[in-house]
């Protein structure tokens, strides 16, 4: 059980909070690049770390992420006009009285002022950088003086034909979602049917090890950027099957691979304290994704999901329809929880904990040591940042160049030693998988 004040510290990420300050040390995913596909695209409302913003791509193609509300009367710039006239300077013009802003939040025109007025130069909205790396538009919401180098996670640095990213809205606090990514002991239970049936999972020898040994052993080791959580199960005589999950602080996890299937993982980003974005990627280091693989991802297989109609990022299965619970499928063993799809199996249970789970009432077991250690590291990093100004793990792009691993090792081998190279993202080198 966690003290209530520690739970508060870990789960609150708004401006001025300790965990909010920690998140503001990192580049974090803000939205998918496909949401602003071309110059002049309609603006998009974005809420991150409890701050409401507008993302837009001006007619020159530059990205901007600025305060959602016009400095004049406080109306939402979502109604604004992303001007595309060739004779006009690029910018987003407020729909109410025509104030116009560039991608840095600088006001460039106040129509009610005289032609030669310089008043607009004195008006500037808060803005954050918005940069495309891979399929994602990333932002950094911290002190501009401390802006770190851009992220180098492998899924967003491989050629675009080798990677696919989706996102979904999850209606609970970011931490209980992240903890599901660190805790791989639930896979043999909650996702057991998916290991047999899902086109992006099935057919791996590793699945057999998973399903044949429901009581895995855990080994948790600190890494430069966070943790490595090794889970071992019995394999052939004198060998263990290891699945190694890296967690890079604060919110990046990778799932160990299965056979030659794409490797997947998540970035768990707070929207506010009761909602988060789950950015979900699948990629391969050395080959293009096939059409069938991408089609499977687009239709919600693997760790992706289907959406409510209308171009939303809200899952089709959500709390308003009880996640389309199918008791018959549960009875037949087609799903363990009655919920279809690996992503929504996780999300449904994590949302069922409540918007912010009360960790003072939980009762962990030693198998949860990865979660316990991750919380400790987050608290420690947030405290050291606030009290001593120490840059937390995971800011350095070198910490991003990690991989998950699935492998079979002799029983007396350390996974850390045996997989030292496999755990590093190396261009042109295939993932280590079983």
């Amino acid at each position: 059980m966690l003290k209530q004040e520690i739970n508060e510290l870990l789960t609150r990420t708004g401006p001025g909070t300790e965990m909010g300050d920690l998140f503001r040390q990192y580049w974090i995913p803000a939205l998918l690049a496909e949401e602003l596909p071309e110059p002049g695209s309609p603006p998009v409302r974005v809420k991150l770390l409890s701050e409401r913003m507008i993302a837009f791509r001006d007619s020159a193609g530059d990205y901007g992420l600025i305060d959602e509300f016009c400095a004049h009367r406080g109306v939402s710039l979502w109604f604004g006009n992303n001007e595309q006239d060739p004779g006009q300077a690029p910018g987003l013009r407020c729909a109410y009285h025509g104030w116009k802003y560039d991608t840095t939040g600088q006001c460039v025109e106040v129509p009610s002022e005289p032609d030669n007025s310089t008043f607009c130069r004195k008006v500037k909205l808060t803005s954050y950088p918005l940069v495309k790396v891979g399929d994602i538009l990333w932002t950094y919401m911290g002190d501009p003086e401390k802006r770190p180098p851009l992220p180098e996670y492998e899924f967003c640095t491989v050629p675009s034909e080798q990677t696919y990213t989706s996102k979904r809205w999850q209606e609970c606090n970011w931490l209980q979602a992240l903890e599901g990514g660190i805790d791989s002991s639930h896979v043999s239970w909650l996702h057991n049917a998916g290991l047999k049936n899902d086109p992006l999972f099935k057919g791996s020898k590793g699945n057999e090890y998973n399903l044949n040994d429901m009581r895995p052993f855990f080994e948790v080791v600190e890494s430069d950027g966070g943790l490595l959580v090794g889970v071992r199960r019995n394999a052939e005589e004198d060998h263990y099957y290891w699945r190694i999950t890296p967690w890079v602080m604060p919110a990046f996890t990778m799932v160990p691979p299965r056979a030659d299937h794409p490797v997947h993982g998540h970035f768990w980003v707070p929207i506010d304290d009761e909602n988060c974005w789950v950015f979900t990627f699948d990629y391969l280091p050395v080959r293009e994704l096939t059409e069938a693989e991408v089609a499977a991802m687009r239709t919600g297989h693997g760790v992706h999901n289907e959406y409510e109609p209308g171009g939303t990022f809200r899952p089709l299965q959500n709390k308003d329809n009880d996640y389309l619970m199918d008791r018959d499928a549960q009875r037949r063993g087609e799903t363990f929880s009655g919920i279809r799809g690996i992503a929504m199996q996780d999300a449904s249970l994590q949302e069922s904990m409540g918007p912010i789970v009360d960790r003072s009432k939980e009762r962990l077991v030693s198998a949860d040591s990865g979660i316990i250690k991750a919380r400790r590291k987050l608290v420690s990093a947030a405290t050291e940042l606030r009290e001593k100004g120490i840059t937390p793990p995971g800011v350095d792009p070198a910490h991003h160049r990690v991989r998950s691993v699935a492998t079979v090792l002799p029983k007396d081998e350390s996974f850390v030693e045996a997989c030292r190279e496999d755990l590093v993202a190396t261009p042109g080198v295939r993932q280590t998988t079983v």
């Binding site: 080994e219 600190e222 329809n321 009432k361 029983k411 350390s414 030693e417």
Partner: protein, 160 residues
């Protein structure tokens, strides 16, 4: 007028009296914590770990006993009624004790955890040492850490 629900809206729990997961519903959770008792034993595997175990013993715990020096003759008594055993190592010379404790726990269905404390901060290097190798077969969970507070946290979290 008949209202037809969209095809994707298919509530199946019409007999439930609460919707899942809303903030409002979360407020109605029963406030009394679930009953939960752990009977724990914490073993030191080497002299350095003995100091750690003695320190830990000074804190308030529930039903936890701390054993700074392994003694094969009293092991069975120490494990009586236990359901969780933690083994702490700071050096490589506790393999025999780890084996004895681990084997005894396995026979009795006692969950085990191994902590390799590495104050030097070389966690990843330490992870390959004999201490880890010795503990691996016997510890359901193995944590290599430089921070002894992790031990306090884990014991606290598991209800020791």
């Amino acid at each position: 007028m008949t209202v037809t629900a969209p095809s994707y809206l298919r509530p199946t729990l019409l007999n439930s009296c609460a919707w899942a997961a809303t903030a409002k519903e979360a407020a109605f959770r029963i406030d009394k914590p679930p009953a939960y008792v752990r009977t724990s034993r914490v073993f030191a595997l080497d002299p350095g770990a003995a100091d750690v175990v003695r320190d830990l013993a000074r804190r308030p715990w529930h039903d936890t006993r701390f054993i700074p020096a392994f003694d094969a003759d009293t092991l069975a008594d120490e494990l009586r009624d236990a359901d969780f055993a933690m083994m702490i190592a700071t050096a490589d010379d506790g393999a025999a004790a780890a084996y004895a404790i681990g084997h005894a726990c396995w026979e009795r269905g006692i969950t085990t955890a191994g902590i390799v404390l590495d104050p030097s901060g070389a966690g990843r290097r330490r992870a390959a040492t004999e201490a880890v190798t010795a503990l691996r077969p016997h510890a359901r969970v193995l944590l290599v850490t430089e921070d002894r507070q992790d031990i306090v946290e884990i014991l606290g979290e598991v209800g020791a």
